[in-house]
Symmetry: C2
Subunit: 701 residues, 2 copies
């Protein structure tokens, strides 16, 4: 079987129906035992989730990482039981796990957590993110196909597979759903099938209070294939599984557009009182209501967590079917391997996130003395690496030229009919055009990384990291190998003014646990930082890069300047006090302010003050060093210190210490040329030197 075969006609027996009702009973029991959670949607979505896992998806529970599996993304993460119960049916979770729902240390936390529970493809809960991940996965699947098996006719490649997602009213309301759905339609992602569970209930109860758009028409405007399945009818509720299955069949057959199936459900059906209420959305139903519902479903109201043997045997057959599908697939896959030895090597390498031999040879070095913006250095690295790292791809949220994020000569990933005179298009291309959709970009990058194999990056101005912040947080939570190229990283942006000048962003991004924020001090630090970042795929990295030119330090032997390869240490002695004397004062700087520290060192030397300059491109990498290294760079005995960064001081107090001074900006910027701004806002060698004098005075008391 290949993924593109039409599914077999639906054979729906009493055992299937009993299994679906078992889902409802388990969902009620799990929430009741936990005391909190979201039972209602898990009840009403029971048949849909069951259809997906038991009938529609290519899925082998024995290998949840099967490269060719269909992906399932539960964008409506609050109904985590919808997924957990299917994973239990698949044998990936035990009944005990369901009994420990939302408890400390359990495999069934309140929202699905990728990396924590096998079979969970992504962490969801913050609404809209999962839909964005699904769009990213669908794009990654196409890119993967293009890298590994571009010539196989549609539906014949072992890499063909689909992305299924379930979205809720809340996902539909969030702005990110607009960004990623518009882009999915534009990209003609025929491998993406979304089920919209339109139950019209959210926490404030009836969504009529806030939602009256026509969602089906909206998605048609995006170029999606849209179907509606009405289970809730004027005077009755008909859980027409055949109709839903038929809609899925059509969605699967539709390969030129993403598909949306609008499924009109009643939340918590058939609970007699709780159905169709906000309470059923987010709270336990209570013992009486659970009992009443169990009676309706033909379950013993006095028993909990009941899974009849016949049901369990039936649903666990998924393992046989999935195993058989996997074995059948292996034949096709092996034939592909034999025929494509080089591509097979690429696949193996990508799956292990291993970079090719000699890849670092390509990384450019920049001539000392030249003035180069770090964004430009970054662009040069991307272009240099593109030929040897086909897994590296990405693009910008409509700022490609400003972000220097486009590798030279590479085609865009775009249906060819949307190519423009600026950008050549290729269905399997490499350069991503997100449009002015930073948040969608963030969620899509996560989806690409989650899909596996390729390594994505995305670019915008640093100030607009705010627009994508919820997705960046999830990348950090999941520790995904995503790279952000954030340029125009300070008031150095200049004339566009305070709306475009990051002030608080370096602090705010460093605040996110698990995100490495990298602000290189010159072109060669930028190149070395790219190398270090790519070689460590275990977490997301965000580059903060200058718009304006920065001097490229002469790091040759005898120059006194350390090699840029020290960047991986996070912080290092860029140039020590003159004559390698014990420093009187340490000047710590990042990015475009490193040059000011270097110049201040000269000013201070004229006064007989011995100043060491520490470049600190990445606080997180520095923190990862052992104490002895850190004490070598920042000896605790040297208490006179100055930190300088064109952002707020908040992250620097711990390095400055009681006697230190921080040269920072604690207010918004202004519209003017950047030289004026640095001068007016006190970022000069002179202010750094003066701060050093003050710190020295404080130490001397």
């Amino acid at each position: 079987m290949t993924s593109s075969d039409a599914p077999a006609p639906l054979d729906w027996t009493d055992v299937d129906k009993r299994a679906v009702d078992t889902i409802r009973a388990l969902a009620m029991d799990a929430v009741e035992k936990s005391g909190n959670g979201h039972p209602g949607t898990a009840m009403s979505l029971a048949p849909a989730a069951y259809l997906l896992f038991q009938r529609l998806m290519r899925y082998d529970p024995a290998d949840p990482d099967w490269v060719a599996r269909d992906r399932f993304v539960l964008s409506a993460g609050h109904t985590s039981l919808t997924l957990y119960i299917q994973l239990f049916f698949a044998g990936l979770l035990d009944l005990e796990d369901l009994k420990h729902f939302r408890k400390w240390g359990s495999r069934t936390p309140g929202h699905p957590e990728h990396g924590h529970t096998a079979g969970v493809e992504t962490t969801t809960g913050p609404l809209g993110q999962g839909l964005g991940n699904a769009v990213g996965m669908a794009m990654a699947a196409r890119r993967e196909r293009g890298l590994l098996d571009p010539d196989a006719p549609a539906g014949t490649s072992p890499f063909d597979h689909r992305i299924f997602t379930i979205v809720s009213d809340g996902d539909i309301e969030e702005g990110i759903s607009h960004e990623v759905s518009s882009l999915a339609g534009h990209q003609k992602l025929g491998n993406l099938i979304a089920l919209y569970d339109e139950n019209k209930i959210s926490i404030e109860d009836d969504t009529t209070i806030a939602l009256s758009e026509n969602v089906a028409e909206r998605y048609e405007a995006y170029g999606w294939h849209v179907q509606t399945v009405e289970w809730k009818r004027t005077d009755e509720y008909v859980e027409d599984v055949q109709a839903l299955y038929g809609a899925y069949e059509k969605a699967i057959a539709e390969t030129d557009r993403p598909s949306l199936i609008v499924l009109r459900t009643i939340i918590a059906w058939p609970a007699p009182h709780a159905q169709n209420t906000g309470k059923a959305h987010g709270a336990a139903l209570g013992g009486d209501e659970v009992a009443a519902t169990k009676r309706i479903l033909g379950f013993d109201p006095d028993k909990t967590f009941v899974v009849e043997d016949e049901v369990l045997d039936h649903v666990r057959k998924l393992r046989e079917r999935g195993g058989q599908a996997h074995r059948d697939w292996t034949t096709t896959f092996s034939a592909w391997r034999t025929k494509n030895p080089e591509r097979a090597q690429l696949l193996d390498r990508m799956r292990e996130r291993r970079l090719p031999e000699g890849w670092t040879d390509r990384i450019p070095t920049f001539e000392a003395g030249k003035a180069v913006a770090t964004r430009k250095a970054s662009g040069a690295v991307i272009s240099a690496l593109a030929p040897v790292l086909p897994e590296l791809w990405g693009g910008s949220a409509d700022l490609a030229e400003s972000n220097n994020s486009t590798p030279d000569g590479e085609p865009s990933f775009i249906p060819p009919e949307y190519a423009t005179k600026e950008f050549a298009g290729d269905w399997y291309g490499r350069v991503l055009h997100f449009g002015i959709r930073e948040h969608g970009m963030g969620a899509i990058l996560n989806g690409i990384a989650l899909h596996g194999g390729t390594r994505p990056y995305g670019a915008t101005f640093l100030v607009f990291s705010d627009y994508m912040r919820p997705s960046v947080r999830l990348a950090a939570l999941m520790q995904l190998p995503v790279i952000y190229v954030w340029t125009h990283d300070s008031i150095g942006l200049g004339e566009d003014g305070p709306t475009h000048q990051p002030i608080e962003h370096l602090a705010a991004l460093r605040a996110i646990p698990g995100l490495d924020v990298v602000r290189p001090g010159d072109a060669n630090e930028t190149a070395a930082a790219w190398q270090f970042a790519l070689s460590r795929p275990e977490s997301p990295k965000g580059f903060a890069l200058s718009r304006q030119n920065l001097p490229t330090f002469d790091r040759s032997e005898g120059s006194g300047f350390a090699p840029a390869s020290e960047v991986g240490r996070g912080g290092y002695v860029l140039i020590d006090a003159p004559g390698d004397a014990v420093p009187d004062v340490i000047l710590i700087a990042t990015g475009s302010e490193v040059q000011m520290a270097v110049a201040a060192r000269e000013l201070l030397a004229e006064e007989g003050v011995a100043a060491r300059v520490v470049s600190m491109p990445c606080v997180e990498w520095f923190d990862a060093q052992d104490q002895s290294y850190r004490d070598t760079v920042l000896p605790p005995t040297v208490r006179a210190r100055v930190c300088v960064e064109a952002g707020i001081a908040q992250p620097w107090y711990r390095f400055a210490g009681d006697a230190g001074r921080i040269v920072s900006i604690e207010h918004f910027g202004a519209s003017a040329d950047y030289q004026t701004l640095f001068e007016e806002f006190g970022f000069t060698a002179g202010t750094v030197a003066q701060a050093a004098r003050e710190s020295l005075a404080a130490v001397r008391g």
Copy 2:
């Protein structure tokens, strides 16, 4: 004239045409002189902006704050010249201002800045925000009408006015446009008219590379009234001003739905080479192209900043027309004042942002010893103040019950047909239902505050402040009187797990210049913080409130605890060392961790260690105190310190100092009951006491 009268038929003379071409020449000259900027859209939008300011809007340049003026929001803030040149025509800016475009200290910064340039209704640039502001203004206009003149027939009230906005392709792409447009359709904002400048060019050039949705159909799906005006036709460009004017006439006549006019333009028309290019979007055209364009327009290519007398006389007549309209309006307004003396008092009070006599009498106090979540205390304050502060209104992004953001017994602001069994609806109601649209909520709150008069608040979980962060930043930049009610402010949220538990958010929000972040330590601090926040409308405030119950401290005389009114100091001695001894150590805490500091003080007392507890609900308010007060609370001589907050340590290093310790959480949370989480993650009286011992040891060296 009232705002609802149909505009007079368009009388379009050669002088009008010349004035429009003058706009194009000025736009080119200003960008050329600046060396950078966005000329193209200012050129192609020249007739549209001219129509709005010179013909369609109720606008009196002599009084840019006229309460009944139509508002103009340039959501496409990059084309700031579109606005500046109209303000020049209106006499609010001089030609000199245009010559200093994007220069230090000028009134014409790169993007329009509210509060900096008279006549700029809002700060724009970050895309989508202006559209959200416009929706908020349209809602505020309705609420104002309801408060001041609810019974006047449509179109007869002196408070009837309209909100006009211009949006670009980029606004349309941003997710926030979806949130606010869906809500605007739902709210049937007939007083909102948006012009979508579909020029199909953005920074990556032809938007075809990233945008193919059918925008008109999308907006119809939102319930908007949509018209399309095609100036760009297959083989020619016809700047049909009459057609645009006719569309505006229809949009004005449409009072039941917001209106979108899709205007298909060619950017930078009629520049011979630059038109329809990405370069014309964001860069100076260059001398040759400017000269060529001026020749086409019939201007002397060797002259710059030319405004012929005839043109200037003609456009400055706007002042006479606006003044006459203002005087005519005053008749109606005075009649209203006479007839509505109490409402007139309310209007005066609202315009001055003055609160009524005795309003603080309503603020509840909470009984000592009771366990109360600060979110619940906040809800009690909102309910208590609602009757005396009609200007205070707001709501939640679908978390009303969790956020405790709904005042008792108040109707929802909603077309009555959308009322639900949970929420009574009133066209002029008070409770806002944003749906799951946090970002839209943020921009709408800004729009409400900008409109003037009323005082808005918006609520969601603290973790989802990330979703609205770009709007929060703009509230801080503009110093708007917006209040955020962010509840579930730590791992104390419990079972929903790491996706819902803020860790870095307090630090990240404190990082925003000009935003006051307030995390009260008990119910009475919450009430006092609301009082303080409302009495200071000069900046936005964000409350971080607990989900879980907190003890209410006994602050009675002799209790040793300071009164909650000290909250306004930002940080204060909650309870001093036993016997008012000189403290050995200071324990600084916020929110739900204050109780741990208080308990640790007891533990330490048993060991003979004298500990002072400082509650620090708002770092920004503490920083605003004079040095002597701050030194009283935190004597520099007492170097043993512990800071405790269930978030990252980053903001606390500066208070802890070299010898201090910080009890913090530097990683993401987990799904479990909150008691387990506080215990497992080290937030207990015991860990605070132990940190105090360590700090004391460090001081003793």
